[in-house]
Amino acid sequence: MFYFFANVLETTLMYTIFVLSVYLLSGLTGFFSLGHGAFITIGAYTAGLATLRFGLPIWLAFILAIVMGLVGGLIIGVPTLKLRRDYFLLITFGFGEMVRALLLWTSQLTGGAMGMAGIPYAAELPLIAISVVVVLFIIANLKRSSFGRTCISIRDDELAAQAMGINVYAHKIKVFLLSAAIASYGGALLAFNMTFIEPNLFDWLESARLIVIIFVGGINSVTGALVTALFYYSFGELFRFANVWRDVILAVLVILVIIFRSQGLFGNFELSPKWIKSLFNRRKSPKRGA
């Protein structure tokens, strides 16, 4: 029973990393990637290939996974990030399909549709938990930094940001690459945790789900993304029998949220030390008033 819950927690936390990587891209620049699953797949396969086929150590596999994610990000980002957002969206959609086709084509190396089994089990709960905390730390701080605020201004009005002298293209590329790197790192974690990977692990639907989850929590709130991700994925792992219907429930929820509360359930709320302090102050204040 303990192993079951540990397993649920591991899976949930790994998916949380994916959601956070998508949040970084969509929340900061307003770009949507329907091929983010491709970066996860790239990370997972790089890690698997590096350890299984080339016998490299685990730490090197992680680094290689990130490097490959960055390469993929450059291939997609350089031509499309200059264009209207829809091009980026549609090309990432195609990129996801391309990576899958590539994995099936190079089946001698990757095992094709049979997947790749026997990857060493190296990502245990502590490593995954630390990774989530680090990623969360990076994203939360980036969002509050000058760089993050610049990016949000690009998201809200690209033309105005450009007029203020911001190099829009450079900012978008940087955020996209960081997001791709986090996603492929998460993919490597996934490979080392599940020890079996296959090309259909992340289709476009999975990428779409990652985006949609962010909108339930609210595009302005990292806390929202975190809470929704934790809730959705742990729920899904605990109630496996309702696995398919949970997407339908999620979809209905998203549409309702977007129509009636488009800022998301959490709005602009962030769980920060400041907020916790203000909570205690608020409790004291009536006494002071009396």
Partner: protein, 294 residues
């Protein structure tokens, strides 16, 4: 490649390309008016493919009537989605992002609903005609493909006439170039948007029916919308003519590549070609480059 095989693949390619063109136009119509990538189009394709199967195998065995019934289902689904999901967002004048998020949500919902209900079943369409192949000299053509080609051509011509000649069509084109001015001229853009979705839904109905006829019906049939999207990109987003040309080109290139190199490499080559195309000529064939406007 032998010349006989080449001609056959060419004809198959043009027929498949016709379906891609219909898809690209359905996607492009909504993109033109509302300026967002409408992924729910794939959802309508899925619904229509299932509807087409049930109509043709249980209710109506004649091909034209079954096709028309499926088109009606597609149009109704398109309108239903617009009214339930997009209209509230549209009327509240929220950013386009929310329309897009709703559209992928609908696509996800449709796919997962069908996967939950009929996920493990495959539905093959019935044979509509006794004669499945036609031969001219030594060349053999599949009846389904010729039919697809004919219907796509007729539909695209009718649509062009509708958009160029009728008042409604002109209103749709006016709303495509600028959604804010037509209301000042007494055009109800709310109604026009609804009609656009009906037409797009009807086109999705045709696509769904033909995809169902060519392949088997699965919940994932809507993801083949990627071909229509690719055609729309190559054609130049927002240009319907470009989308049609690109759709047919894509169909031809795909059939020839599959015949020559096999079906596993083909998607890789096509996607790489598109990335390169975007680097070199992002405005596509027609030369419409959509930029972000304030």
């Amino acid at each position: 490649m032998e010349s006989g095989v080449f001609v056959q693949q060419l004809v198959n390619g043009i027929s498949l390309g016709g379906v891609y063109a219909v898809m690209a136009v359905g996607f492009g119509l909504v993109f033109n008016v509302l300026k967002f990538s409408n992924f729910s189009h794939g959802g309508v394709v899925t619904v229509s493919a299932y509807a087409g199967f049930f109509i043709s195998s249980k209710l109506i065995s004649s091909f034209p009537l079954a096709l028309i019934a499926t088109i009606l289902v597609g149009a109704a689904t398109g309108l239903l989605i617009e009214r339930l999901v997009f209209r509230p967002v549209r009327l509240a004048k929220k950013p386009l992002t929310y329309l897009f998020v709703n559209s992928i949500t609908v696509a996800m919902m449709v796919q997962q609903t069908f996967a939950a209900i009929w996920g493990s079943y495959y539905f093959p369409y019935p044979e509509f005609f006794k004669r499945t192949a036609f031969s001219i000299g030594q060349l053999v053509f599949s009846g389904t493909y010729l039919l697809m080609l004919a219907v796509s051509a007729v539909v695209l011509i009718l649509l062009t006439l509708f958009l160029k000649k009728t008042k409604l069509g002109i209103a749709i084109r006016a709303a495509s170039s600028d959604i804010y001015t037509p209301p000042l001229m007494g055009i109800n853009t709310d109604v026009i948007t609804g009609i656009t979705f009906i037409i797009a839904g009807a086109l999705a109905g045709i696509t769904g029916f033909f995809l169902g006829m060519t392949y088997t019906v699965t919940p994932f049939i809507g993801s083949s919308m990627i071909k229509g999207i690719i055609a729309a990109i190559i054609g130049g987003m927002g240009s319907l003519t470009g989308g049609v040309i690109a759709g047919i080109l894509l169909g031809i290139v795909e059939s020839l590549l599959i015949a020559e190199l096999g079906s596993s490499v083909t998607p890789i080559i096509i996607y790489l070609a598109i990335v390169i195309l975007l680097l070199v000529r992002p405005q596509g064939i027609a030369g419409n480059l959509y930029t972000v406007k304030a």
